[in-house]
Structure formats: structure tokens, C-alpha cells
Amino acid sequence: MLEAKDLTKTYGNKVAVDRLNLTIQPGDIFCLLGANGAGKTTTINLFLNFITPTEGQISIKGIDVVANPLETKKHLAYIPENLMLYPNLNGLENLEYFSGLAGKSFSRDALVNFLLEAGLQEDAHKKRVSKYSKGMRQKVGIAIALAKNAEVLLLDEPTSGLDPKASNEFAALLQKLKQQQVATLMATHDLFRAKETGTHIGIMKEGQLVEQLTTQEIDHSDLEKLYLQHMN
């Protein structure tokens, strides 16, 4: 579903992503761990073609991302870190707008259902986003992803700044999408969530994927040890 081969991105002398090899299958939830600046966000941005790779291949559903940037976008949904949305529009309007951009047009009821499914209370739907908390904005982002009905989900630190309850709801949603054979790539700092919800874990350091394992292979304390071992 998602594939990177010897993926490299350099900025001048600095190597942001270094010969990264990665394959994510339908139904996988791949959690990228690593310190800030390890290259997690850069990897996600490369899959989105926001930046072009210096070397290597990158594809979604076997389609080359660099050659067909618009085609590959049809299959993916993306939630950036700290999504601000449009503060002067309400949640429903934001959702309608982004769905419309993807070429989809939904009835009012269908839009409301996406927001409810994402966990946003109905009384908030028609409030301006400027009044929303970070968690509420994140839920609108999830609704946008749900509405797109994508096979690939790219998430950049989706749970950072969420309270434990919201974080838990989010994990449940990911599990639901996993059942629908969605392939998820998620950058995160949350070791606990990564172990709980992820199927695979990768640890990045200075642009390199230094560790790659399934969550079944390891328990919590070992994961933390392994992580800290790489960071030091």
C-alpha cells in the first residue's frame, strides 16, 4: 500500500531522511517514533509530495508519488499536526469545504454523521472553529479523513495535546479503520499509544530507520528501553 525504497531527502549538507525502506500493508498501523528532527514529519511530507525526494522511490498503491502527485492524493487522507482549520467557519462548513475540494459532495445529514463518528458533539457543529479546543479541531480533521473514505491514512502526531479521553477515542477510531483495511502511517511521541494501537513500530534517528518491529514482539517496558537506548 505504502512503499519507500532507499528514500533520501537532503537539505544542503543536512540529511533529513537517509535511505529509508518501508512497506505498509492494508490493515497495518505503522507508528514512527523518534526525537524531534529525526525525520518523521519529513517522511510523511515525502509521501504527500509536499517536498520532493533527493533520491529513492516512493509510492502509494504502486503509483509513483513524484510522477503522479494528484493521482496518489485520491487514495490518502492526511491530518497535519496542530490543524488550525478556518476559525471564521464552523465545523460543518470546514468539513464541507475540504470534502468539496476532494471532489465529494455530501448531504447535510451525511456531514453531521461524519462529525459524530469522529466524536464531535452535535451542539459544536455550528459553532465557529475559533471557539474550538485543539481536540475538537482534531476531530474535524478526522471527520474530513473519514469523509474521504481513503485507503491510506497519514497522521502527523495526531494525539499530541489531546486529553487522555480524546486520545483514547482516537485510538478506537484507528482500530475501526484498521478493520476496514486502511493502511496507516503515524508519527508519534506516545510510546503507550504506539504499543496499544499500532501493528508495527519504527524508530527513527537522524533520518535513519534504526529499528523496525511488530508490536507483538515487544512489551511496554522493553519498547521504552529500546527507544531510550537509541536516543542516548
Binding site: 492524493k73 490518502l76 490543524l83 482549520l85 478556518y86 462548513e93 476532494a102
Partner: protein, 475 residues
């Protein structure tokens, strides 16, 4: 896709408090300027029309007198206010509005509004043109400066691109949405202006009024588009909203404040027009000494006398079948006209060169281009002033020639000056003064530079968008 984009831009803008305040202000200013401008135009036009009619009645009803006395009594031409001048006063406030036409000499066009005003008028007047040329770009800048940077800062640009919208489409959609919003602000004033315009027929003086009006609007639309495209481009290539705003304000100050002033000063230094005193002095000297300086007026008079005597085969002026004084005056008049035309052409050339400087500068600065085009279409530019001056001068020559000819043919020698008189029929044979404005075609030709500059900016902006849109940073 565009539908959703457009609706969102519209909602976002209309709900933005900054836009509500700024837009409301410009909206009110524009409507005020329209109403005030039209009222001012209407009053001035009525006054001048009345004055012109009164002068005509006085001319026709001046009683029986010698035609040459009438030519000294003279006539006056009032410059009519062009209908579209209510949108752009142009030079009209600084150029004179009435010229006294008499035998033997060309007078200046006198009494500009600026003479009656305080020096505050130098800071510009609250006209539609001022609002459209200076304030609208500022409003556009405030409206558009963050159009891309804010999307980038809020992560929505990434979201948009991830939903499968190309950056080129984003830029073009932004431009379309903002041009519509600008149009919204502009529309009410436009409706009022067109109702006022077409409510009554001013077409006696005006040619192609509708064509000029819509050409003027198209020119302004192109001008706004230039600022919209420029603002979107700068926003797209700026790292932060603040930087985009600073850059755009810099552009505005350069275009709208610094460069117009500098251009005028440079043009004036490069091509200096002679002072009024010098101009008159040169004409006086050349008439006395002859154009080449070796043909003084008394010699010319003597030659004319000999030539005329020879032509009629007589030996003294008294025996001529015509009035020699009439002939001599007409010949003298024409000699003066010739000198005047030569000198006037020189001065005009200076002004033309000065204008050329700001025309060329229009290629660097769209404000200078729209200013020229707007004044031209409103009928308040330099070309129209010269046209009025020329037509008034031609009318003066016609009047003087008519008087001289009548004197030459009908005022037989031997009859005393005070005993030869003509009356109403003769006065009426001089048609009333009627000034006709330049046609749309002429105006377009006079303003080719300005129109070309606007087109270059307009197309260049879009070319940049198409050419550079893929290199915009999304993250």
C-alpha cells in the same frame, strides 16, 4: 471544486471583522465620492453652460457697431465639464476653465479651481478616481496579504493539497474569489454612477459616452486584478503573513506615493517648460522683428502695400476698391498666428515629453498607467485641455477673420470708422462656440502606452502565477 472554494473564501472574508471595517469604509467613501463628484460636476456644468449661453446672447445682442470693435469686444469660451469628469477630475481642477477671445492676441485659459482653493488641494481630492487608484489597492493588500501565508501557517494549505488540489489551482481560485469580492465592493458605486450617467442625456457634448464609461471600468478592473495577482504572488512566496504585509505595503508606498511624485519631478527637470513671461516675450519679439529676425513689421507692412497696389493697378490706398486696413489687419493677424503656432508647438512638445516620461514609467508602475488612462477617458487629461485650447483658438481666428473680411470688403474707403456698422444678422452668422470631446478611438490612441502597461502587468502577473505556482512551498 471551485464552488466550495469560492463559498468558503466569501464566507471567511465577509465574516472577518477587519474586512468588515475596511470594506465598509471604502464602500462608504466610494458612494460618497460618487454622489459628491456627480453633484459637483452637475453644478459646474450647469454654470458653464449658462455662462456660455449668456455670452452668446451678449454677442448676438451687442447692437450695431463696427465689426472690428466687436472683435475687440471679443467673446468667451467656457470649457464644458465632461460627463465622466465626475469620476476623475484629473487636471481639470488645475487647468483654467474660461478663455477670453479677442482680436490681435491669444489669451490664456484662466481661473482654475485650484486658484480658489487652499493648498490642501495639492494633497488630492476625494474623487472616485482617488478611492479607486489609491485606497482600493490598499484594501486589496489588506484583504489578500495573508491569503496563502495564513493557510500555510494554519496547516490548511497542506490539507488542501492533500485533498488533491494543485497549488496552481489554489492560486487561481484565490484570485478569482478576491476579484469577485472586490467587485462586490465596487458594484453599488458602479450602479449609482451608471444610473446618474444615463438618467439624463449629456450626449450633445459627449461622444461614445457608454463606450468610454465601460472602457474606464474595464481599465480599473484590470488595475485591481494587477494588485490582487501581485498580492497573492507575494503572499505565496513569503514565509510569514507579516513579511508579506510589509512587502506589499512597501510596494504600495512606492507605487502610490513615492514614484508618482518622483516621476513628476524628473519629468520637470528633464524637460522644462518656459515660464509664461518668456513665452509671451518670444512671441512679441518675433512678431515685431519677423520670424527670421530680418523682416520687421514695418517692412512687411510696406511690402503688403506695394503688392496690393500693384495687384489692383492703382497708385494710392485711397483708390483701392477694398479697405486696406482690413486686409492689413488680417494679414498681421495671420502672421501672429503663425508665430504663436510655432511657439505653442514647442511648449506642447515639452509637455508631451513630460507626459512621455510618466507614460513609460507606467510600465514600472500600474498606478501611473491607470491615472493616464482614467483621465483620458474621463476627458480631463492634458490632451483634452489642448484640444479645448486649440478649438477656442480656432474659433477666435474665425471670429477675427470674419470681422476683418467684412471690413475689407464692405467698409468702403472714405467712410468714417464710426459710420460703418453691422448688426444682429452679422453677429448671428458666427455660429456659437461648440467644443467636442475626443472620440473613444482618439483617447485609446493617445493612451496606448497606459493601456499597454496595464495589459503587460495584467498578463505578466498571470504568467508568473502559471509559471511559478508549482514552486510554492507547502510546508
Amino acid at each position: 471544486m471551485f464552488k466550495y472554494f469560492f463559498i468558503k473564501e466569501l464566507k471567511e472574508t465577509l465574516r472577518d471583522a477587519r474586512f468588515q471595517v475596511m470594506g465598509g469604509l471604502v464602500f462608504i467613501l466610494l458612494i460618497t465620492a460618487t454622489l459628491v463628484g456627480y453633484r459637483g460636476f452637475d453644478q459646474l456644468q450647469q454654470m458653464r453652460k449658462q455662462a456660455q449661453q449668456q455670452v452668446r446672447q451678449e454677442w448676438v445682442g451687442q447692437g450695431n457697431k463696427h465689426p472690428h470693435s466687436a472683435a475687440h469686444y471679443g467673446h468667451m469660451a467656457f470649457k464644458p465639464k465632461p460627463t465622466l469628469s465626475f469620476m476623475d477630475f484629473g487636471l481639470d481642477s488645475f487647468t483654467g476653465m474660461v478663455v477670453y477671445m479677442e482680436a490681435h492676441k491669444q489669451n490664456d485659459i484662466l481661473y482654475s479651481q485650484a486658484q480658489d482653493s487652499t493648498s490642501l488641494i495639492r494633497f488630492g481630492e476625494m474623487t472616485i478616481a482617488f478611492v479607486l487608484q489609491m485606497l482600493m489597492p490598499l484594501l486589496i493588500i489588506f484583504l489578500v496579504f495573508a491569503s496563502i501565508t495564513r493557510e500555510r501557517e494554519g496547516g490548511t494549505l497542506k490539507m488542501m493539497v492533500s485533498q488533491g488540489v494543485s497549488t496552481r489551482k489554489i492560486l487561481l481560485y484565490k484570485i478569482s474569489s478576491y476579484s469577485f469580492i472586490t467587485l462586490l465592493l465596487f458594484l453599488p458605486a458602479f450602479l449609482i454612477a451608471s444610473t446618474l450617467l444615463f438618467r439624463q442625456s449629456h450626449t450633445a457634448l459627449q461622444t461614445h459616452l457608454t463606450g468610454k464609461f465601460f472602457t474606464l471600468l474595464s481599465a480599473y478592473w484590470a488595475y485591481f486584478m494587477i494588485f490582487i495577482v501581485l498580492s497573492v504572488l507575494i503572499s505565496a512566496f513569503s514565509k510569514t503573513s507579516r513579511m508579506a504585509l510589509v512587502q506589499l505595503l512597501g510596494v504600495w508606498i512606492f507605487f502610490c506615493i513615492l514614484m508618482p511624485k518622483a516621476t513628476a519631478n524628473i519629468a520637470d527637470n528633464l524637460y522644462t517648460a518656459p515660464a509664461k513671461y518668456e513665452f509671451d516675450d518670444v512671441i512679441k519679439k518675433k512678431v515685431e522683428a519677423g520670424i527670421d529676425g530680418h523682416n520687421p513689421s514695418d517692412k512687411r507692412f510696406e511690402a503688403l502695400k506695394q503688392q496690393t497696389l500693384k495687384k489692383y493697378g492703382v497708385d494710392s490706398i485711397a483708390k483701392l476698391p477694398i479697405n486696406f486696413s482690413g486686409l492689413a489687419m488680417q494679414v498681421g493677424e495671420e502672421y501672429t498666428d503663425q508665430v504663436y503656432d510655432q511657439e505653442f508647438k514647442k511648449v506642447q512638445q515639452v509637455f508631451k515629453s513630460q507626459n512621455r516620461v510618466s507614460e513609460v514609467a507606467g510600465l514600472i508602475n500600474p498606478l501611473l498607467a491607470i491615472r493616464q488612462v482614467s483621465m483620458g477617458l474621463a476627458g480631463t487629461d492634458y490632451h483634452h485641455h489642448v484640444k479645448f485650447a486649440t478649438e477656442a483658438e480656432n474659433y477666435r481666428r474665425k471670429m477675427v477673420k470674419m470681422a476683418n473680411n467684412d471690413m475689407m470688403v464692405n467698409h468702403k474707403p472714405g467712410i468714417a470708422y464710426k459710420d460703418y456698422k453691422v448688426g444682429r444678422g452679422f453677429w448671428e452668422s458666427l455660429p456659437p462656440f461648440q467644443y467636442k470631446m475626443a472620440s473613444l478611438n482618439e483617447i485609446v490612441q493617445q493612451n496606448l502606452w497606459g493601456i499597454a502597461a496595464l495589459l503587460v502587468w495584467f498578463l505578466g502577473g498571470f504568467a508568473l502565477i502559471l509559471y511559478r505556482s508549482s514552486s510554492i512551498s507547502i510546508v
